[in-house]
Amino acid sequence: MLAPVTSAASWLYAAAFDLFERPMLMLQKMTGAQRIAWVFLLPNLLIFSLFTFLPIILNFFYATTGSDRILLQDRPFVGMANFASLLRCADYLNPNSCERDIFWRAVYNTGWFVVLQVGFMVAFSLLTALVLNRNIPFRGFFRSVFFYPVLLSPVVVALIWKWILQRYGVLNAALEGYGLPVVNWLVEGDWAFFWIVFVSIWAHMGFYTLILLAGLQAIPADVYEAAEMDGASKWRVFSRITMPLLMPTMVVVLVLSLIRAVQAFDEIFVLTGGGPGSATLLILQFIYETGFAFRPQLFGLAAAASLLMAAVLFALTLLQLRATRKSAEG
């Protein structure tokens, strides 16, 4: 069955070669054999400049201009007004006292989300990696059990759980069967928040488990053998050998999951839409709604909020660089 596919692919591969051979040869004659490197770089750099480098600069222009026009020349300069509007608060602990109360709610929600999601996810990933690192049969199968949800699209993940958590869903039916009280999970604020944390851990922990497992397997076996010879207890082996040697991987996992959690959006948006009210509204949804979903489109405000988020992400990345450098030196 695969034969026609592979033969078609190799035909295309050969055809693509022929297609570009002549123009590339001409370019090579013009540039010389060394400077043709720039020709190879060009497509990638073009896309990079257009969709990465240019937007980084433009973001600052958007953040300092107002109105709902997308073209920069139509947008009046407003200085720091967008930032001021976001940050103006009578009492920073009470979102209701802020000019942009939704923004602050999103900030607090994101803060809680990051702490809870990353904390529990890293803990469970570590536990799972330790379990999978044991000498168990079907290890490959169990590894893929945990990894499977990672591949599912966020929309699919959200719909799966929405179907389970709905008022007349299977979870409530099971609870009722055991005589426990039923809850309208996604309609009660605190429970909805619990479930966005739970579902995002469910969807992503396999990825971090995989990285931690690779880290565990990189620890040489003779270290454990030596400890066993000395009669070290299991706990001692874990706390004095496994954990210190796993630390570099743990740092990578921690920072990577922090960076992801700050930008969480997809599953949560489909699962709860940020609701009930704004109980599960996170910062990226605020940016999306301010800039794109709601009218008028406040591009400036959204860009300012993105820059504030970028500052947090930048700090986290620096943390990662420092931590990895430290672990590489030590």
Partner: protein
Amino acid sequence: MFSFLTRTRGRGRFDLTDWLTWIYLFAAIFLMFGPVAWVALSSFKTEAALQEYPPRLLPLAPVTTTVEGHEEPLQLYRVTGGEHEGRVLAQIRRIGLMAQMVDPENPDERLQVSINDRQPVREFALATENYSRLFQRFNFMLYFWNSVFITVVATIITVLFNSMAAFALSKYRFRGRTVVFILIIATLMIPPTINLIPIYMVVSQLGLVNSPWGVIWPAVATPTGVFLLRQYMLTIPDDLLDAARMDHASEWRVYWKIVLPLSAPALAVLVILSVMWRWNEFLWPLIVLNRQEEFTLQLALNSFQGELQTAWSSLLAMTMLTLLPITIVFAFLQKYVTQGIAQTGVK
């Protein structure tokens, strides 16, 4: 027979930690596969069966039959108590606590049965119409095609552009090489989510809003791909390339006929990653594609769950069809997917 389960770290006895390990692993199977399996089972239930509460595990549909003298098909019940106990009757209507029923064999006689004394007769029936309806009414093929188009085209361009850049950065010595490399790697620190508005402006100025190309172009120059491929190409010996150049091979030929085939393992990792990214992408298509006929599968799913709050039968079938391709790919390429991701540390 269960000796394979009791294999332990060479100590030969099944202690507490082994028990905990297996409890944990079986709980994990239930928790990780259970929800997907539940959606799979539910997707074969009729809308009526989906409304049932508490829900049944298997798609068991109530059985109906046509009875002489009644236009509509009537639902069959097994009588479990009272004077007609043991008979199978069709229900005509329900009046308060009593049901007016009829024996399909003897349609003239009306029988009264208490509603507590009857159980619906069920049979195992897969509501495949949930799936066929997607193709007839919901334009499923259009969304599927949109998703496939974006995934395939974006992956080809990503692999081509990234490998060309990686080739330049690993096999040539030219001024500015380090600067370009650092510049590309630095963008790993700048996720596209913080530049949504300016990227949207660029896309709209290029006239790509509501076009699949507006989704494809912004993310084809992945720093991850360039980095991954460059590191791999560095391990290809330069002598090999020089030998080809001696034979008057053009640089393009060196790249296409020597470096690319030798980089196949790294290219495969990038293909897997790119397919995953593109098939599952949500936020950026949500911003760029506003017209229904341009929707990807993910967008279509999202908009259906908003509109058809109650039509779960179609929604569940569509969810299944969306997760199926990735599941099949994973089932066959499981080893490569997990290895590739463990190597690169990205997903």
